[in-house]
Symmetry: none
Subunit: 155 residues, 2 copies
Amino acid sequence: MQSQNISDIIEKYLKSILAESDEIEIKRSEMAQLFNCVPSQINYVINTRFNVQNGYIVRSKRGGGGYIRIEKINFVDDYDVFDELISIVGESISFKDAFQMIKSLFQAEVLTRSEANLILAIIDKKTLNLADCKLENMLRARIMKNILNRLKYDD
Amino acid sequence: MQSQNISDIIEKYLKSILAESDEIEIKRSEMAQLFNCVPSQINYVINTRFNVQNGYIVRSKRGGGGYIRIEKINFVDDYDVFDELISIVGESISFKDAFQMIKSLFQAEVLTRSEANLILAIIDKKTLNLADCKLENMLRARIMKNILNRLKYDD
DNA sequence: TTTAAATTTGACTAATATTGACTATTGATA
DNA sequence: TATCAATAGTCAATATTAGTCAAATTTAAA
């Protein structure tokens, strides 16, 4: 029915493990073998689904005994995370990236569902819809930074 | 037995499936093949018959394993109130007027305090920060209307 | 009948995923 | 120290989807 592509399947697999522990460690080549794909596909999945916007931190090591470690961001304890997100937003952000960020803030229970929904409605492409896409992304960045700053000082 | 154009037939087909489940996932090219039409006709049907006003939300993904997902939405009891507010907002609204509207939505317990504050922070002059005041009011109107549209349904 | 709106079509565009050749890093060993 | 083996990373080409837009056509309304 859904997720016919390998990337989604790998993502689900990793997230199902992460649902039980806050951190996992994998071997890229083993993963590739398990899912019958090329090793670089694992990088693709990690880069597109386990980045900071998505609420994950990834560390890795090459060479013998190498690994890829994926860790869930702890928004409650890790206070600087908001600053990091603010710097990721920078002066300009696409809806897609902002969407990921809001989604992970909801999943981490920093935002309620209805707050997240409201924000998404506001930063939607159709809402901002400025003739100039560049200007749109800049405006979205201002809105996102405003939100992140509020969250930072809220708790 | 009226107007049996392809668009209507596709619409009926999709709605007959949606009558049994709240959500369906299709592949554009498969649909096009099934109904012997060009793929973009599927977009036409979705844009004209499955928009938010009609009670549907559509999400999609391109690339390998791509899909189009159509989901029915649940309107809140008195959702037509929001339509009235939307027409009041019109094409342009000042911060002062928007503030009043958000305030009354809070007093009516449609919005929580933090939701109201969040919205006010976003539609503030400083956040929108557009040189042109006219443009600012128009943008604020679009944001307000999208918020109101979002409040018409839940989840 | 004339005009406006809705539908159909297809060329072009954009986003996402897959693959593999090449590169970089690390630790172990000669 | 130099080299090698065993990892992971990068990047660009290709494949696989869906989206956009406007011209052409058909249908409905005035």
